[in-house]
Amino acid sequence: MRRITKGLAALSSVALAFTLVACSGDKEPAASDNKAADPASLSAELTWWDTSDAKNEGPVFQDLIKQFNAKYPNIKINYQSVPFADAQNKFKTAAAAKTGAPDILRAEVAWVPEFASLGYLYSLDDSALLADASDYNETALASNKFDGKTYGVPQVTDSLALLYNKELVEKAGVTVPKTWAELKTAAQTVKKKTGVEGLYVNPAGYFTLPFLYGEGGDLVDTANKKIVVNSAQNVAGLNIAKDLIDSGASVKPSATDSYGTMMTLFKEKKVAFIVNGPWEVANMKAAPAFGGLENLGIAPVPAGSARAGAPIGGHNYVVYSGVPQEKAAAAVEFIKFMNSAESQAALADKLGVLPTRKSAYDVASVKSNAVISAFKPVIESAVNRPWIPEGGQFFGPLDTMATEVLVQNKDAKASLDAVAQKYKAEVVPSYATN
């Protein structure tokens, strides 16, 4: 159960040649010393929990599975769509109980270090999955590393960008803003000239990060083990967000259902600017009232006084550590197929989500995809989040803070101090505070 067989190694490299060489510009390690093994000889039954949107994204993944089965007829994939919001807890419960966990999971970037620290994931080092690790975007791959090992491969990456309604922006005669100050005037102009709202600032922790990063702030300093969430930069950043709301440039946001309200208003052309990620592209495509993708403008998030920065997000493929070793080879093949540059390009074409492989961006259809090329600079300048097991717990206190400051008008400094205290008491007790 614990030892790798020579056959597996041979098989892996052959399959690598099969699936990757076709599209990737780089030379893959060639399978010259191995005679071709028949993919049909691999047989296993694998369960995959897909956490993507079941309606918009799920069918495209199921198509990919069909293609996979054409090549590997004896690997049966049990496709299960698990709602993103439940998947983290569901997986942890199942993994702790050692029953009911899927073989393969599509895990959000912040989950991987957490699951890995609990021993729930296979480390993938030296496997065929990481043979071409240099082809992956470094920022996206970073989220898979924990304690010197790599536990997953990035499936899709994302970041926040400034999305706008082209028609409204043209009607108001404003240029696409590059700084928060420009966004404020642009939003006010839109409101004055077209009568619809200019901007919707979503009062949630994750969505305040571009404001904090913009002033050069961060949540924690992992190198020095320090909590820096209540820094002067973060206070300044939050006050910019607050001013957008107070000045009327942004709709006064609601404390509940804010994200949904933001999307509804945007799709119904009732607000011109929002900050959101590429995962909504498929949704926008399907919104005829909006005018489809032709009407969707995408620009990097506006800059603060230090830089323009948005948090990196996305999802990774990981393998549950309870999977019997006999099935491991099949799991590796499956992930390799699903995450090949061609598959990533297919997902990009159909869903507008961003590939994590550099070589996928060289595929012609991806190159000519306007949405992808608009997001490319966004990803390149995206900011790494602290990849520690506690990373997912940073957002609870941050959400509370965002509501206090942006909805209830409380003092930014006082709220951030409370967040720092919470981090110290409950999230990272070993870290120093300011």
Binding site: K92, Y122, S127, A255, T256, S321, V332, P389, T400, T403
Partner: protein, 329 residues
């Protein structure tokens, strides 16, 4: 247990005879006792034990093993394995170092009192109204029980959407009559108001049905003779209806209190604890504290024990009050 009248016999033989006579009854009780022990007693004791440790999902194992997909497994001693911490959990929770215990308790009390008062008041009013002979009585009864039949989470989402600040019906209606939109979920009290309204909508049918049953058990003759004696409707209500309903009322109020106290879905779904955790009640706050992020079993148990203690104290107190008033319950 039935006693045997064998005053002078030694204890063992009393037991013996008791067994001989009632063995079948004992044998039938055993499964129940066993099930109770497994389902209630063991988890309870285990839960109480957990509160004296610092066990979480991350430190429950003494050893964490990492398997490599290419074979091999490395096991490392968990550097932060759990330990016995005495009363630390209780101190942390009660002093507010972790969570907002006292704020949640305060909100829970307001939530419970408001909920039960309106449930009972409205339930009684409606029960009295549809107890009388009238046309379409059956139709009204069905209509009034309807909220009960709809799954709670559907009602919760419906009410939440009605009060949505940008898209909701309530603000549209307010705007139509010239009143500005209200930011319902931006303030603790308006958010709590929406939650209480939802809870009333959900809880009144139960009270109404229970009280209607109680009303039907009050003999009609009492009202007739009172009427002959010239009692006003208010006097009849106070002196016949209310005392007649007392046994039912006491039970449903106790049940309603415990249910509302632990009513998780409404707060969790309607206000989501917003704004900024201000409408969190004990059960929802405890859930978030214990199960969001790395799951904290010891903290969850601590909240559980505290909530159980509050309800136990309340029930004991309530029973004592009832006994003083001569109720046998």
């Amino acid at each position: 247990m039935s006693t045997v009248t064998a005053g002078a016999t030694p204890r063992s033989s009393t037991l013996r005879r008791n067994w001989d006579k009632h063995w079948a009854a004992w044998a039938m009780v055993v499964p129940v006792v066993a099930v109770l022990a497994v389902l209630i007693f063991y988890p309870l004791v285990n839960g109480i034990w957990l509160t004296f440790t610092n066990q979480t999902e991350a430190n429950q194992l003494a050893e964490i093993c990492t398997k490599s997909i290419t074979g091999g497994e490395v096991c490392k001693e968990n550097p932060n394995a759990w330990s016995f911490v005495g009363l630390d959990n209780y101190v942390n929770v009660l002093t507010g170092k972790i969570g907002e215990f006292w704020q949640w308790t305060g909100t829970t009390l307001i939530w419970t009192v408001a909920g039960v008062a309106f449930h009972y008041g409205l339930g009684l009013g409606l029960a009295v109204m549809i107890h009388r002979e009238m046309r379409f009585r059956g139709f009204y009864r069905v209509l009034l029980v309807l909220p009960w039949a709809v799954p709670a989470f559907i009602s919760a989402f419906a009410w939440k959407f009605l009060f949505n600040e940008q898209l909701g019906l309530v603000n549209s209606l307010l705007n139509a009559v010239g009143i500005d939109s209200v930011a319902w979920f931006a303030d603790k009290w308006t958010a709590l108001f929406v939650a209480v309204i939802t809870n009333i909508w959900l809880g009144v049918p139960f009270m109404m049905v229970a009280l209607l049953g109680g009303l039907q058990s009050i003999p009609e003759e009492l009202y007739e003779s009172a009427e002959i004696d010239g009692a006003t409707p208010w006097q009849r209500f106070r002196n016949i209806t209310l005392p007649g309903l007392r046994p039912v009322s006491m039970t449903v109020i106790l049940l309603g209190t415990i249910w509302t106290f632990n009513m998780f879905p409404i707060i969790f779904l309607v206000t989501e604890g917003q704004p900024a955790g201000a409408t969190e009640i004990l059960v929802t706050g405890a859930f978030r504290a214990a199960f969001e992020g790395i799951r904290n079993y010891s903290l969850a148990s601590t909240y559980g024990v505290l909530i159980l203690s509050i309800l136990l104290i309340f029930s004991v107190f309530y029973r004592r009050v009832l006994r003083k008033q001569g109720e046998v319950w």
